[in-house]
Every structure is written in structure tokens, then in C-alpha cells.
């Protein structure tokens, strides 16, 4: 969460003037998967808002799609158009690698966001959320909370199961739990949407009669999960969220629901991508770093938000 929310605000660092000063005009193409859930919609919205802050940035946003073939063709169109940079959140990192390489070869600055390409040459710079780290953070937090209760029932509500990021999260979660002798007793998968979350949770609550802790990968589907929990009248467990929506953070702050914590997966990655693209094209460096160029890779941190530190994160949280 390094992005300022206020219009025209600069970096916290003191080089704001140099970097935000209008420079050479930069045309940026932006492509992301279909906005079929809140986090993904927030990514695009944040990117647009960020671009709006710079008079020297022209952003072209294309229809979000889950069809890799279509996304490839969108990038091809950007290449034909000779845009200066492409910020790409690929539906499938590996599948979009060839076309990203093609763009790089054509001299376009490609910024890879969230889902990583499988070639280091396919992007000038990569902004990554830490999916594995998210799982680790959530697992570690649950371990702490359940302190030594080795027979505890831990449930997991995953997101779209066929995405690699879901598997990374689950893997990290399982690893962290293993360190304190726990394991995932019940696992269901939803589809990142409110409705699917409600459905998955309703079934889950039947499958496990007593639960001590639930980790839900995504706060968007979490709205549905909360509704299902409320409906069941169960309260013997606590819940850890994922991604970090403003909603859930408000609930944590008020301490009036099952959520006791959430693990942030920044929805501002797209916005970061826009900034990096602009800086890279204009040949500027990243403010607080000594380096002359923007770095190759930025891996975002996945902090656990609890009642204690919620005020720090609430401002950058996305509204689901």
C-alpha cells in the first residue's frame, strides 16, 4: 500500500517533484482478465484513476477477458498501435508470454502485473502480489490464535480453483499450518463472487459441524460467506479474510463479525504498474531508491490486518 489516494498526491519520498513533473507523453495499453469479481474490477478502476492523475499519460483500457486468445490479440493490437508501454495482468502468465516477448522485441515497455510470465525477458518490470506469502500469513496468524490447540478444525474457502494463484495461496497456507501441527480439515472452492462464496460456505458449514478457524481467500466472496455464516447462526469460530476489502477492514475495526483479520493482496497493483510504466518510458527512477532505473521486480508484501493495525490499511483498501 504505497499508493497515495488523494488526487495529485506524490510519493511519500522527497523526490516527488522530479517524478510527477509532466514529461514526455506516454501511451499505455492496459489489459486484464474479465472483471468478474470485485478485486479484478478494483484493479482496473485503480489503474484508470492512477492514469487520470497524470496529464502526460494516455491510457487505453480494453475489455477484460478470460479468453487468452482474445487477450493475446488485444496485446497484438497494442503492438500494431505502437503504444509506449503495456501494463498486462495476464489471465494466464505462461500463455501470454509469447506475445509479451513480441511486444518487448518491438521496443514496447511491458509491465507484468500479478500473474508472472514464464520468461524473464517478457517484461521490463514485474509487480507481484505474494500469493504464497498470503497463505503463509493467514496460516501463521491462525496458528498464533489457536495456540497449541492441535485438534483444531481449520477450514479453507479457496477462490477459483483452476488458477495457479489459488494453488499458491493454498500451498502457503498448508505449509504455515504444518509448522504448528495443524492441517486443513475442510476445503471448498468458490469463484471469487459473492454468490459463489455464499453457496460454498453454506455447504461447508454443513460439512463441518464444529470449526475453529476459517481462512477465506477473497474478501469479495467473503461478503457471501459472511451472509451464510449469519444465516447458520454459528459463531464458534473466527475468520481470516483475503485481499483486504474496505468492508472487511471496517468489520475488523468494529469487531462485530466473524472476521478477526484479513491478509492484504493489494488491488493497487495495476496502479503501480501504470506508474512503473510511465517512469520506465520516461527514463525516470523509482523515488525512494538510489537506482537510476526502475527495478526488475517488485514483490508486494502480504501483511495481516488486525484490529490493531487496521487504521493503517483502511485508506488503500478496495471497496468490493
Amino acid at each position: 500500500g504505497n499508493t497515495p489516494q488523494n488526487q495529485g498526491g506524490g510519493n511519500q519520498g522527497g523526490v516527488k517533484v522530479a517524478n510527477d513533473e509532466p514529461g514526455k507523453k506516454v501511451v499505455i495499453g492496459f489489459s486484464a482478465p474479465a472483471a468478474d469479481h470485485g478485486w479484478m474490477a478494483a484493479i482496473t478502476n485503480a489503474a484508470k484513476a492512477e492514469a487520470g492523475k497524470y496529464s502526460d499519460v494516455e491510457l487505453r483500457v480494453v475489455e477484460g477477458t478470460n479468453d487468452v486468445n482474445l487477450q493475446i490479440s488485444q496485446v497484438e493490437t497494442f503492438i500494431n498501435d505502437k503504444v509506449d508501454a503495456i501494463v498486462l495482468l495476464p489471465f494466464d502468465g505462461a500463455a501470454l508470454t509469447p506475445v509479451a516477448l513480441k511486444a518487448m522485441k518491438a521496443g514496447i515497455t511491458v509491465i507484468n502485473v500479478d500473474r508472472q510470465f514464464d520468461s524473464p525477458f517478457a517484461a521490463r518490470s514485474t509487480v507481484l502480489g505474494d500469493n504464497h506469502g498470503m497463505g503463509v500469513s493467514a496460516g501463521t496468524y491462525i496458528c498464533e490464535k489457536l495456540k497449541g490447540k492441535t485438534d483444531a478444525v481449520v477450514a479453507e474457502i479457496a477462490g477459483i480453483d483452476s488458477l495457479p494463484l489459488t494453488q499458491d495461496r493454498s500451498k502457503g497456507f498448508a505449509e504455515a499450518l504444518a509448522t504448528c501441527g495443524l492441517k486443513v480439515s475442510n476445503r471448498v472452492a468458490a469463484e471469487f463472487t459473492v454468490e459463489s462464496g455464499e453457496k460454498a460456505a453454506a455447504n461447508l458449514l454443513q460439512a463441518a459441524r464444529k470449526i475453529d478457524a476459517i481462512w477465506n481467500h477473497d474478501d469479495d466472496q467473503g461478503v457471501g460467506v459472511t451472509a451464510a455464516i449469519k444465516n447458520s447462526g454459528r459463531s464458534e469460530f473466527f475468520m481470516v479474510g483475503g485481499a483486504g476489502s474496505a468492508n472487511v477492514m471496517r468489520e475488523i475495526k468494529a469487531d462485530n463479525g466473524p472476521h478477526k483479520a484479513t491478509v492484504v493482496y493489494p488491488s493497487t497493483q495495476g496502479a503501480d504498474g501504470i506508474r512503473l510504466a510511465r517512469l520506465a518510458v520516461q527514463g525516470k527512477s523509482l523515488g525512494d531508491l538510489v537506482e537510476v532505473e526502475v527495478p526488475r521486480q517488485v514483490e508486494l508484501y502480504a501483511p495481516v490486518v488486525t484490529k490493531d493495525n487496521v487504521d493503517r490499511y483502511l485508506p488503500t483498501a478496495f471497496e468490493s
Partner: protein, 343 residues
């Protein structure tokens, strides 16, 4: 013509006996009889549930969970049964549910609802759903656009509109009374389940006991004959889509109640789920034959299936493979049994 000049059919007694038998079996089995295969499939599924998950499956709470899950898609499927029986198809149901849910949870609606009565939310959803259905119906019946294409277009348009209205945010409903009403239970049965039951019963009566229902069969089975019989086929078709739209509006209300939200992502792939439930229930995709009971069984089979899978903690991929196999087996079973029962 008087009795004595009639050539008596030699097998008349047999026919009458047949008739009597048919009467009884109609009483006993109009639902169970024609749907034996489905009943058997559902029972097998339940057995599998009991064997693998024991009391966790056969528990009242779990049964209510299944029913509550079935309720939303069930209402849409009942409406879909009418459209398909009438020879149509609607791919836009999910999008209509999304649009209705979003429109009904806009701040404006919530404001009016809070200052008057929560029923405003309900009416908004129904009105939006009905209007979408009407647009579909008019395009198809009067504009003569193929139903598949017209509703595919509505699918795109309605979801887009829902995204614009909601700004792709999940809109949380904050209307007192609404949630209280829909979260309640009637004699232990959740209101949502009651609504589904009422819709299914009303749908059955409408399809089987009214002129509207008879005409639906005629319009779907032989539109030319229906026209020659003086039925306004186009108006009837438009009405069918409007009815389905209303069902989608109602489903949106139920979904809002379940999730306390309206969202452009609601109702994803409902079109496939609803059509699958209707078709597995025995309604002909080509029109002219439809059964509400079958549709209800179809919906229950699909929701029970995913419940049993979840109770057993199975991987989603294995679920998918098993689901495919089970669908085929259920249909084959239904066919064999239907053939044996001779109807």
C-alpha cells in the same frame, strides 16, 4: 350417430381397462411415474450421501441447506420450463438476475425503501426482471430474432448495464425489514424455500391447469397449428419471456436476501444451470413437452450432487468428472425406465 350403427372396436374393453389403469397411475404417479428415472437418480444420490457422509448428510439442517441452495436457481428454472416448453430458450437469465439485483440495491431504491417500506426493493427487482423479459419477448416474437441470438445479446447488454449501474461494486443492502423478512422461517422452513415451493406449485398449476399452460404446449409443439386455432402466438411468446423475466426478478430478490448484496457478478452461468435442470427433468428442448415436477427434480439432483461432493471434501476436478458421468447415467436411467413403463 346412434350406437347401433357403430362398428364396435374389438378391443374396447381392453381400452377401458387401460383407461382405468391410466387413471390410477395418473393419480399415483403423474410426478413420480413419468419421472421414475429422476426419482431413482435422486434416491441413489441421497443414498450415496448417507453412506459417505452419514448423519451430516441426513440431517435436517443439511436438507434445509440443500433446499435453500436450490431455491434461487429453482425459481429461475421453473420460469425457464415455460419458455422451453413454448419452444424458446433464454440465455440471459443470469444477466437479468444480476441487473435486477443491482437495480434493486441502488442507493436510490434503498432510500425510498427505507423511507416507505422494504417491499419497494422487491417490486423494483420484479419490475426490472419483467421489463428485461418483455424486451426479450418482443425482440423474439415481434422482431423475429432467433431466441438464442436475442437473449445472447441481452446477456451481454444486461451484464454491461449492471456493471455500469453498480460501477462494478458489490452493493450491500441496508434496508431494515427486508432481511428480517426473508431470513425468517415458516414452521421451521426458511422463507426462501417456501417461496420456491410456492413458485413451483403455482408453475405446475399454470402449466397444467390453465388455458395459458395449454396454449404454451401448443405454441411450443406446433406453432402453426396454434395460430390456426386462433392463438395469438406472438403475444403468447412475449408473455412467456416476460414470465421468465419476473421469475428472474424474484430470484434476484432471493439472492439479495441470501447474500445481502446486489452485484453485477450475481447469477453467473445460471443460464446453463437452469437449462440443464429443465432438460434433465424431461422438458423437450424443441418445445411442446414440459414438466415442472421434472424441473424441480432436476434442480434438486444438481444441488444435492454438489452438497454430497462438498460433504466429502472432494476435489473440484473430480467433482466435474463425476458430475458428467452422473448426468449421463441419470438420463440413461430415466430413458430406460420411461421406455419400460411404456409411456
Amino acid at each position: 350417430m346412434s350406437e347401433d350403427t357403430v362398428v364396435t372396436a374389438p378391443d374396447r374393453p381392453a381400452t377401458e381397462k387401460n383407461d382405468a389403469r391410466r387413471g390410477i397411475s395418473a393419480l399415483l404417479g403423474s410426478a413420480a411415474g413419468r419421472n421414475t428415472g429422476l426419482v431413482v437418480a435422486l434416491v441413489l444420490l441421497c443414498l450415496a450421501g448417507v453412506v459417505t457422509a452419514g448423519d451430516r448428510f441426513a440431517d435436517l439442517d443439511n436438507v434445509l441447506t440443500i433446499l435453500r441452495l436450490a431455491a434461487v436457481i429453482g425459481v429461475v428454472s421453473v420460469g425457464m420450463t415455460f419458455v422451453i416448453t413454448g419452444g424458446g430458450i433464454d440465455l440471459s437469465v443470469g444477466a437479468i438476475v444480476a441487473l435486477s439485483s443491482v437495480w434493486a440495491t441502488t442507493l436510490a431504491t434503498q432510500g425510498i425503501a427505507n423511507s416507505t417500506h422494504w417491499i419497494v426493493v422487491v417490486f423494483t427487482a420484479l419490475a426490472v426482471g419483467g421489463a428485461c423479459g418483455l424486451v426479450n419477448g418482443v425482440l423474439i416474437a415481434y422482431g423475429r430474432v432467433v431466441a438464442f441470438i436475442a437473449t445472447l445479446a441481452s446477456l451481454a447488454a444486461a451484464r454491461g448495464l449492471a456493471e455500469i449501474i453498480s460501477n462494478r461494486r458489490t452493493q450491500i443492502l441496508d434496508v431494515r425489514g427486508f432481511t428480517a423478512f426473508f431470513d425468517a422461517s415458516v414452521l421451521g422452513v426458511p422463507v426462501l424455500v417456501v417461496i420456491f415451493a410456492v413458485v413451483a406449485a403455482a408453475g405446475w398449476v399454470l402449466l397444467n391447469r390453465t388455458t395459458f399452460g395449454r396454449r404454451t404446449f401448443a405454441v411450443g409443439g406446433n406453432p402453426e397449428a396454434a395460430r390456426l386455432a386462433g392463438i395469438d402466438v406472438r403475444r403468447h411468446t412475449a408473455l412467456l419471456y416476460t414470465l421468465l423475466g419476473l421469475c428472474c426478478g424474484l430470484a434476484a430478490v432471493m439472492l439479495i436476501a441470501r447474500t445481502t448484496t446486489g452485484s453485477a457478478t450475481h447469477g453467473g452461468l445460471y443460464e446453463l444451470d437452469a437449462i440443464a435442470a429443465v432438460v434433465i427433468g424431461g422438458t423437450l428442448l424443441s418445445g411442446g413437452r414440459g414438466t415442472i415436477a421434472g424441473t424441480v427434480f432436476g434442480v434438486l439432483i444438481f444441488t444435492t450432487l454438489s452438497n454430497v461432493f462438498t460433504l466429502n471434501n472432494l476435489s473440484i476436478s473430480a467433482q466435474a468428472v463425476a458430475k458428467g458421468a452422473i448426468i449421463v447415467v441419470a438420463v440413461l436411467l430415466q430413458q430406460r425406465l420411461a421406455r419400460r413403463s411404456g409411456t
